[in-house]
C-alpha cells in the first residue's frame, strides 16, 4: 500500500503487509516498486491520483491489474472516446476540444450556448464552468490557460434541465453487472459530488434505466474494463446522453455498496486478481432494500465571504446517507445528518429565477398545505398569487428597510428557497444566501432540492422516527431468490 494520507484506514498498519508513506509521484512509486517487485499494481481504487501514474508504471515494466491503462486513456481522451461512442451509436452532448481561445469560440458557435467548459484531466471539477455567452467563454478560456497551461480545454453543450444519473458497475472483461444507479436530486450543472442523490432512482422510466444498463455494459466490454467503472448519464428531453465514463472506483461506490449490502470493492479486487464475476457471486444487479439519499456537506460556514451557491466545481468536503422506506423520510434524515435542521412549520421565503417560476407553484402549494406562511419578493409573488396562493410581500435587500435581510437576521424566516439567476448570480441573491448561512437558516438553491425538502418535511410530520441498522435492512446475498431480486430491481 502506498499512500501519503495519515488519516486513512488504508494507512493503518494491519491493512497491508507493507505500507509506504510516500508521495504518489512516479519517481517515488517506481523506487518502491523496484524494492518490492510486485506481481501487479492496482490503480483504480485511489481516485484520479494513481490513474495518472498508470502509463509511467506500465512503461517501467510493471503490470497494471484490472482495466488496462490504454482503456483508461481511451475513456479520458475526448476525441478517441467520442469516436467510440459514435461507433456504438451512443449519444453524448455535442462537444469539441480547443487549444486556443479562437478555436474555443468557433466550437461554441457550432454547438450553441450554454456551454460547459473544463480543462482535461480534472480533479474534483477544478476550473469548470458553465458559460452562457461568448464574453464569459472568452474570459474563461484565458483563465484556463493559467491554471492548466498546455492542457487543452473541453467544451460540451450544457443540457439545461436534464436529470443526471450515476451508474456504477463491475466487469470482468467478459461480462458486466450493474451495482446500482443513483439519480441526482439537483439539476444538471451541479457537480455530481455536490448534488444530493437518491438510490434507487425515483420517477425514471424503467425502460430508460434498462437502456442505461445496456449502454454502460456495452461500454465496459468495449473498453475492456476489469474491475469497477462509473458512468454519468443525463436524460434530456427524453433522450439518454453519456456525460462521462470513469474506468475506476468512483465516489458513489461506497454509498452503493453500503446501501445494497454488497462489498463491491472487495469483489472488484478479486476480479482484478483474475476471478470472474460468477466466481465472486455477482451475476445480477443487487436489489435495493429501501430508499437511500446522499446529502453533501459543505465548508461554507468556515470560509468567510464565500457565496454558498453550487456549480460545476466541486465544493463539498463530505457526505452523509439517509436511509428509510420512502423518499421523503430518507431525504429528511440525510438533511439532518448533514447538520441542517428541517423546519416543520413557520415562514418560508421564496425567490426563484424566471425559468423556475412555473414549477415553484406546486412546491409553494405544498408548503401552504403544510401550514407554512409564505413570503416572496415581487416577481415570484406575482406568479404565486396568479396561481391562487396567499403570499405576503417582502422588500428586497436593496429596497427600503425593514427588508428581507432584516427578517433573516431576526430569524423571522425558517426556510429559504432561492434559486440563482441562470447567467450570473445576482448580488441580492448572494446576500440572501450568505445571511441564511450565517444565521443557520436552511437555504435551498435548486428547485428540485426544494421539492425534495418539502417531501422530507411532509414525511417527518407524518411519521414517527424510525431507525434501522444496515444489517437488519439487507438480506445476505445467498438468501435472495432471483425472482425477488428481479421485482425489486432499481
Amino acid at each position: 500500500m502506498v499512500n501519503c494520507n495519515p488519516e486513512t484506514v488504508s494507512t493503518d498498519y494491519d491493512t497491508s503487509d507493507r505500507l509506504y508513506f510516500e508521495p504518489l509521484t512516479l519517481d517515488h512509486v517506481l523506487a518502491i516498486a523496484e524494492r518490492e517487485r510486485p506481481a501487479g499494481v492496482i490503480v483504480q481504487l485511489g481516485g484520479q491520483t494513481p490513474l495518472k501514474l498508470a502509463h509511467g508504471l506500465e512503461e517501467a515494466g510493471l503490470e497494471i491489474w484490472g482495466t488496462p491503462p490504454d482503456a483508461i486513456d481511451l475513456a479520458e481522451d475526448r476525441r478517441r472516446f467520442g469516436e467510440l461512442l459514435a461507433a456504438e451509436g451512443i449519444r453524448q452532448p455535442e462537444n469539441g476540444i480547443a487549444a486556443t481561445e479562437e478555436e474555443g469560440l468557433e466550437i461554441a458557435r457550432r454547438i450553441g450556448f450554454p456551454i460547459l467548459v473544463r480543462p482535461s484531466y480534472v480533479l474534483g471539477g477544478r476550473a469548470m464552468a458553465i458559460c452562457y455567452d461568448e464574453t464569459t467563454l472568452g474570459g474563461y478560456l484565458q483563465e484556463a490557460a493559467d491554471v492548466a497551461a498546455g492542457q487543452p480545454v473541453l467544451l460540451d453543450r450544457f443540457l439545461d434541465d436534464a436529470i443526471e444519473l450515476d451508474l456504477d458497475l463491475l466487469a470482468d472483461g467478459r461480462r458486466a453487472v450493474v451495482a446500482g444507479i443513483m439519480q441526482h436530486i439537483e439539476e444538471a450543472g451541479i457537480h455530481s459530488g455536490d448534488s444530493a442523490a437518491v438510490l434507487p432512482p425515483q420517477l425514471v422510466d424503467p425502460g430508460q434505466l434498462d437502456e442505461m444498463r445496456d449502454i454502460a455494459s456495452r461500454l465496459a466490454l468495449r473498453l475492456g474494463v476489469v474491475g469497477l467503472m462509473n458512468v454519468q448519464f443525463a436524460i434530456h428531453a427524453g433522450t439518454i446522453y453519456v456525460l462521462e465514463v470513469n474506468p475506476r472506483a468512483s465516489r458513489t461506490v461506497p454509498f452503493i455498496a453500503k446501501a445494497v449490502g454488497v462489498p463491491l470493492v472487495k469483489l472488484a479486487a478479486r476480479v482484478m486478481a483474475g476471478a470472474s464475476l460468477e466466481e465472486v457471486g455477482l451475476t445480477e444487479q443487487p436489489p435495493v432494500p429501501g430508499v437511500f439519499v446522499k446529502a453533501p456537506v459543505f465548508p461554507f460556514r468556515r470560509l468567510a465571504g464565500v457565496d454558498p451557491v453550487l456549480g460545476p466545481e466541486m465544493k463539498s468536503t463530505g457526505e452523509v446517507m439517509g436511509a428509510a422506506d420512502d423518499f421523503g423520510r430518507a431525504f429528511a434524515k440525510a438533511w439532518q445528518g448533514a447538520g441542517h435542521h428541517l423546519p416543520l412549520a413557520g415562514t418560508a421565503f421564496l425567490s426563484v429565477n424566471d425559468a423556475d417560476k412555473a414549477a415553484l407553484v406546486a412546491v409553494a402549494q405544498r408548503l401552504a398545505d403544510l401550514g407554512f406562511r409564505l413570503i416572496a419578493t415581487d416577481g415570484t409573488r406575482a406568479t404565486l398569487i396568479a396561481a391562487g396562493l396567499d403570499v405576503e410581500a417582502v422588500r428586497k435587500a436593496h429596497q427600503e428597510r425593514p427588508h428581507l435581510l432584516d427578517h433573516l437576521v431576526n430569524r423571522e424566516i425558517d426556510l429559504v428557497i432561492n434559486t440563482p439567476l441562470g447567467q450570473s448570480s445576482h448580488v441580492d441573491d448572494a446576500l440572501i444566501r450568505q445571511a441564511a448561512l450565517k444565521y443557520d437558516i436552511p437555504c435551498i438553491t435548486t428547485l428540485s432540492g426544494a421539492r425534495a425538502a418539502v417531501a422530507g418535511i411532509a414525511a417527518v410530520r407524518r411519521h414517527d422516527l424510525e431507525v434501522r441498522s444496515l444489517q437488519s435492512r439487507r438480506l445476505p446475498l445467498a438468501e435472495r431468490s432471483p425472482a425477488k431480486a428481479a421485482t425489486t430491481r432499481s
Partner: protein
Amino acid sequence: MSPFLSASDRDILTPESAPVPRRDNIRSILIFGSGPIVIGQACEFDYSGTQACRALRNEGYRVVLVNSNPATIMTDPEVADATYVEPLTPEIAEAIIGQERPDALLPTVGGQTGINLTLALDEAGVLEQWGVELLGAGIEALRRGEDRQLFKEAMEENGLEVPRRGYASGLGEAREIAAGLGYPLIIRPSFTLGGEGGGVVYNREELEERVAVALDASPTRQVLLEQSVLGWKEYELEVMRDRRDNAIVVCSVENFDAMGVHTGDSVTVAPQQTLSDREYQAMRDDAFAVIRRVGVATGGSNIQFAVDPATGRRVVIEMNPRVSRSSALASKATGFPIAKIAALLAVGYTLDEIRNDITGKTYAAFEPSLDYTVVKIPRWAFEKFPDTPPELGTSMKSVGEVMAIGATFREALMKGLASLELDGDVAAREARMADPIKLRQRLAVPNWQRLFALFAALRQGWSVEEVAAASQIDPWFLREIAEIVAVEAEVGCWDLASVPELLLRRARRSGLSVTRLAELLDCPDDQLAAELKRRKIRPVFKRVDTRPVSRP
C-alpha cells in the same frame, strides 16, 4: 519518586501469567462515529473508530455503531454487529439506544461530534434512563476537558500554569474580561469543531465583531477569552493511561508554525525537534499530571503546551480527553495504534498486557521512540474559494493532510510537499510568493502559502535570523530549509556529467526529488534516474517499528 510512573519504569516482564482482566459485566458497546468529513474532522476518526470497533469485537463484545457518513470503512457491515447509518442527533441516538439497549458507550473515538452527542444525551438523562455506562472517560472528565474554566482550576491545583482566561456569554462580559487580560486576545467559542468561529483580536473594535460571531458559532452561546501566547512554540503530547495508573507518552509533536495557527493548519513534526531533553522530560511529567487530574480513567488524551522561546516558560493550553486528529498522526508516525489500545484499556486491560502488533514481542507499555522524522503538511482548498481571505488563524481551514517520513526533517518536508498534489510544482509556487515587497507580509501573517514564502526569502538571501524574526518560526526549522536552498543552489552549478557524487547524496538526503534534481542539472528525468542507479544512490525507506532505542 514521582507518583506518575511511566509503565516502562515498572517491571513489565510478567504479562503472560497475568489473569485476563477483561470486563465481563458488559456485553454490548455503543460507538459514535464523527459523521461527514468537514473542515476540522476528516477521515482520521474513521481510522480511530474502525480500530476501536475491531478491537472490541475481537474481544467478543457486541458493537453497535452510529455514523451518518457512508463513505467510511467503519460503516462497512463487517466492522460492527449493528451499523446505523443515521444522523448523529440526540433524538436518533436515543431511539437507537432504546432499540439496541447497549450496556456501555465509548464516547472518545468519534471526535468532537461524539463528545458533544454524549454530553447532550447525558444532559437529557438518556444515559441514566437506559443504564448506559461510559467507558474510558466519564462525564466529569469530558466536561473538565471541554470547560476551560474547570480545566484551569484543575491545572492550578496541580501547580501547572495555563493562560489567563475567562468565559463570556455576552458582549458586556467579554468587554470586562478583555479589560482584565489586555490585547491581543484569543477568542474561542465553546463546543465547536476545529476552532470554528474563533480568532485573534488586537483591539476593542475587533473584539466586539469577533465575540458576536463566536457567540453565534457556539451551540452553548459561550466564548472563552484567553490571554494570547502568540509566537510561542506549540507542542502536543499524545498520552495514554490505564486503570492501574500506568501512563506513557506515545509521541511528541512539535508545531512548525508558532502559536496562533490552529494545529490542524500547522505543519507539524514528530518527534519534537527543538526542546532539550530536560525541557522535554518536564513537559512529559506535566502531561501525566494533566491526564490524571482531569480524570481520564483509561485511554488516550492529547495535551497541548506552549513554550516561550525566550524564557522556556511553559503553559498548558488544552487537553482533549479523547482520540484526536493528532492521535491518528501519532499512531501512523510511531506504529502505536492509539485508538485500538484506548478501546482495550477501556474494557479493563492495562498497558503492560497488550502486545505490540508490529514487533510481536514488546508491550504497549513501551514508549515508542523514533530514529526518523515525520512531517505532516495540511492541504487547503483556498483555490476553490477565491473570495475567502487566505490567512490562517485559530479557526481551522484545511481539508486534509499528507504525512511523509524521512531520515531528516528536510527529506520528510520535501516528500510532504511532493505529496500535496498542488497545481504546479514547488518552484512555481515559490515564484508566486517571491515579490520582495510583499514577502515580509507573507512571512509575518500566517497564510496557506507561507511555506513557499520561507523558501523564497531564504533564496533571496534573507538570513535565518531575519526570517525567524518575521515569521516567529524556530530558527532550527529555518536552518533546515536554508540547507535545502543551499543544496539546490550548489547542484544548479553543475551538469549531470560533472556533478560530484557527495553533492548528489547530500541533495537526496535533503529530499530533492528526481524531477527537481533533473531540473537543476538540466537533464531528462530518466537520464538522472539511470545515473543515480549507476552510482548506487538509492532512496532510503524508513521502517516504522515502535521499538525504543533506550529505556528511560
